[in-house]
């Protein structure tokens, strides 16, 4: 398998680091080397959180602008801020309530760079299933459903099962499933 560079962006409390761990763990089990990093703001809650994840042969834990294959973004402003990292031909999965509100010009520019921009209201869906904290897993499930990412449903699910704390297992699996189905459309 070839190298993959992934960015996960959002704000504190959205489970960015868990999501990053999920994918990293998948990479490890697929025999890939892992290199990544995370940055978060000074306070404990509500600041920007970004995780960079590189699967394959890399040395640096930080992704350069215009080289990421995939961006997962869990919050609207963080989406705007992180788009510069995606390479031409890359993909963005954005947790967005309403795509129509997204800046038209930015969408045009993404199109020019042949960046696939897929949005899904993961937070809204999470609220519906009564688990606001699961938006991250829903969005990842969604991306797997679209078939545009290198992770297979069964593999990622197995990893999810093994790294989730017992108390949250049922919710996480449900969230993954719902996202996946929505992604398959």
């Amino acid at each position: 398998m070839k190298n993959v560079q992934i960015i996960l962006a959002g704000i504190g409390g959205q489970g960015i680091l868990f999501s990053s761990r999920l994918i990293a763990e998948w990479g490890l089990r697929s025999g890939l080397d892992i290199m990544g990093s995370e940055t978060h703001g000074m306070s404990q809650r509500g600041g920007s959180v970004t995780a960079h994840l590189k699967l394959g042969s890399f040395r640096s834990p930080v992704i350069r602008e215009e080289t990421a294959d995939i961006l997962y973004s869990f919050e609207e402003n963080e989406t705007y801020k992180s788009l510069k990292f995606i390479k031409s031909g890359g993909i963005c999965f954005a947790n967005l309530e309403n795509e129509n509100r997204f800046d038209r010009k930015v969408l045009d520019l993404l199109e020019q760079k042949e960046i696939t921009f897929r949005t899904f209201d993961a937070s809204g869906t999470a609220l519906k299933i009564g688990s606001v904290m699961s938006a991250n897993i829903i969005l990842i499930g969604y991306s797997v459903g679209t078939g545009l990412v290198p992770f297979e449903y069964d593999d990622l699910k197995t990893v999810l099962e093994s790294i989730t704390k017992k108390a949250h297992l049922e919710t996480n699996l449900k969230a993954f499933e719902i996202g996946y189905k929505a992604g398959r459309g």
């Binding site: 000074m42 350069r64 993404l110």
Partner: protein, 628 residues
């Protein structure tokens, strides 16, 4: 999916700091001490975790400050044991007195100092380069470029330290400390070393005359270490992918990692030769001189300052920070290195590398003027309540503050100064004396967190008391070291590995510093706190008065979520709200949202934790307890 490898070697995804912790454990280290501080805070907890997992009997402590941590580790080393001490770069300032002296007296068991740098800076008051402290104190420095390398370097650092009887510094930069990598674990060394301090006053209590002898010995030791680094190919090596380029780059740590990825991804391998340095001090001079001689132009890319570059003797063909080819400040992110490389290649006619410049996308996103999410205190944070009360009670005061979550009181306009750990009190005392000299007794309110007070508050406070200073000190006691990730304070009586320690109550310390006016209050009691502050101000003006100390105590809600449920006052915003923004500008709870179109405030239930403190804030009384 590939099956897990069946070899003995276990691989785990570890944070850089956890890899360092693992290295400490694998080296058979007996004693580990630390004071928390980003980016070093996760090292000690990793050692605790491995200790528990492997059933080891490592002694581990969170010390009151970095100097205390250093000295405790040093004594273990003087007793023949292996010891590690971890801190952030500015922590080494605090421990530097001990570092300088211990370089002379040396060590017995391996002593490894881990000082994590913060180029950026992301979470520090300076971008200082710990490697310079190595040069300053004359102790060797290792500089890792990946978590795996950091782990291996820790182990070698112990061995080097013991071989040459000298303390050794490991300097991970923040990106290494906070990187995650699949790291190969190796078995833990078991070293049976009962404490055995051999008295030798000429060495351990050396007088100035003998210090000269020790200094001479230290210089000789450094020469030997330098010779060893000259021969080292594990951390210092050449990457030559072409057949002899005329351009060379000398680099280290995170910069090396980023450069290699850029060369690989841009198909530029072979265009430049790279000399990677993992032991920046003492610099393997011959290796570096050979490299600069063999290349027409050599660029030095290192973080955070000019440690390698400054040590190069013949700089006639060397470019770097000193020649303006590398930015003098700020982090060398991959994009920055990319552009430095592009310029270097272009100026020397080597190859074309497109610079990362503002694309249409970046410009458009700038135009959107997205709100900058400035860091802010959590919803329901007790420090917010205290700051609000301070500003309300004494709006004209000088507010000296300190390092911690509560530095964010700056957003509430209740923090005027932040210098370093402990300066909340010392600057207050200094301001008092400067104004008092002119017969002007202005109000001064110092704020300091509990952990900071334990770290360096007492000597400042007792000195201020002794010299008749007058100000108000508010200790913001949230019963934890919150900003760095919830480490216990001496006030809790819980040790680093969860064992029972002896509680050291803060009020007793304050009393011990000679303060007689001490009041304790729940930070959430805003009205009472305002009254108390006014009373405290009177006391500072009273001829028989002095320094007034208020301990504003309320547990951090992230660490103690149960402290949240006890209260629960659900608030709502009434029709009386006219969107004046007062609550946003002076209170700034993230759960208060201004709906501009409607000119009113809304409570964002996703964030609100029902603390009810904002009821005290609205001048129109528009925030009220909800009637259900």
């Amino acid at each position: 999916m590939a099956a897990k490898s069946k070899t003995q070697e276990e691989t785990r995804i570890l944070l850089g700091n956890a890899a360092i912790g693992r290295g400490i454990v694998e080296a058979g280290c007996h004693v580990m001490t630390s004071y928390p501080g980003t980016p070093s805070s996760e090292i000690l907890p990793a050692v605790v975790a491995f200790k528990k997992e492997l059933g080891l009997d490592t002694y581990i402590e969170w010390s009151a400050n970095e100097k205390v941590a250093f000295d405790n580790a040093l004594a273990a080393s003087m007793s023949g044991k292996r010891a590690a001490v971890a801190m952030k770069q500015v922590g080494l300032n605090v421990a530097s007195d001990s570092l300088m002296s211990s370089a002379y007296t040396g060590v017995i068991g391996g002593l490894v100092i881990i000082s994590c740098d913060d180029p950026g800076p992301h979470s520090s008051q300076t971008e200082q380069d710990s490697r310079f402290f190595g040069m300053f104190a004359k102790v060797p420095v290792y500089d890792p470029s990946t978590p795996q390398e950091a782990k291996e370097m820790v182990k070698e650092a112990f061995e080097l330290s013991e071989t040459f009887q000298i303390p050794v510094i490991l300097r991970p930069s923040i990106r290494i400390s906070h990187a995650r990598q699949n790291v190969k674990l190796t078995p833990v060394e078991k070293l049976d070393r009962p404490a055995d301090f051999e008295k030798d006053p000429a060495r351990w209590a050396a007088t100035p005359r003998y210090r000269l002898v020790l200094h001479r010995r230290l210089n000789e030791t450094l020469k030997q270490i330098q010779e060893r680094f000259e021969k080292d190919t594990r951390w210092n090596y050449l990457v030559e992918d072409g057949d002899g380029s005329s351009l060379g780059i000398i680099t280290c740590s995170m910069s090396f990692a980023a450069l290699m990825d850029i060369l690989e991804e841009s198909d530029l391998k072979g265009i430049v030769d790279v000399l990677k340095i993992g032991t920046p001090y003492p610099l393997p001079q011959r290796r570096v001189a050979d490299f600069t001689r063999e290349h027409e132009k050599v660029l030095v890319i290192e973080e955070t300052d000019t440690v390698i570059e400054s040590q190069i003797i013949d700089k006639s063909n060397v470019l770097g920070r000193l020649t303006g080819h590398v930015p003098q400040e700020g982090e060398l992110l991959p994009s920055v290195i990319h552009n430095i490389l592009a310029d270097f290649l272009r100026e020397n006619g080597a190859a074309h590398l497109e610079k990362i410049s503002d694309t249409g996308l970046a410009d458009r996103i700038d135009e959107l003027e997205l709100p900058i999410r400035r860091p802010t205190l959590c919803p329901g944070c007790p420090e917010r309540a205290a700051f609000y009360a301070i500003r309300k009670a004494l709006p004209k005061a000088i507010y000296t503050s300190d390092i911690g979550c509560y530095t964010l009181g700056i957003n509430l306009q209740a923090v005027d100064t932040v210098l370093d750990m402990g300066a909340g009190i010392t600057l207050a005392s200094g301001f008092y004396q400067a104004y008092h000299q002119d017969g002007n007794d202005i109000p001064i309110v110092a704020t300091m967190g509990d952990s900071t007070f334990y770290h360096s508050g007492t000597s400042s406070l007792l000195s201020a008391v002794y010299n008749n200073a007058r100000f108000i000190l508010v200790i913001l006691d949230n019963e934890i070291t919150a900003m760095t990730g919830m480490q216990p304070t001496p006030g809790l009586g819980v040790t680093a590995d969860g064992g029972e320690g002896k509680k050291v109550p803060i009020e007793g310390l304050i009393r011990g510093c000679g303060v007689t006016w001490i009041r304790t209050i729940d930070s959430y009691e805003v009205e009472e706190l305002i009254e108390l502050l006014k009373e405290a101000r009177e006391y500072t003006l009273d001829p028989d008065g002095g320094i007034a100390v208020i301990v504003a105590r309320h547990p951090c809600l992230i660490q103690y979520p149960e402290a949240r449920r006890e209260i629960s006052i659900r608030v709502e915003v009434t029709e009386d709200c006219n969107g004046c923004r007062y609550c946003i500008d002076y209170f700034e709870c993230p759960a208060l949202r201004l709906i501009e179109e409607e000119e009113r405030i809304e409570i964002d239930r996703k964030y609100c934790i029902d603390c009810g403190v904002c009821i005290n804030v609205c001048p129109r009384g528009a925030i009220v307890e909800a009637v259900d």
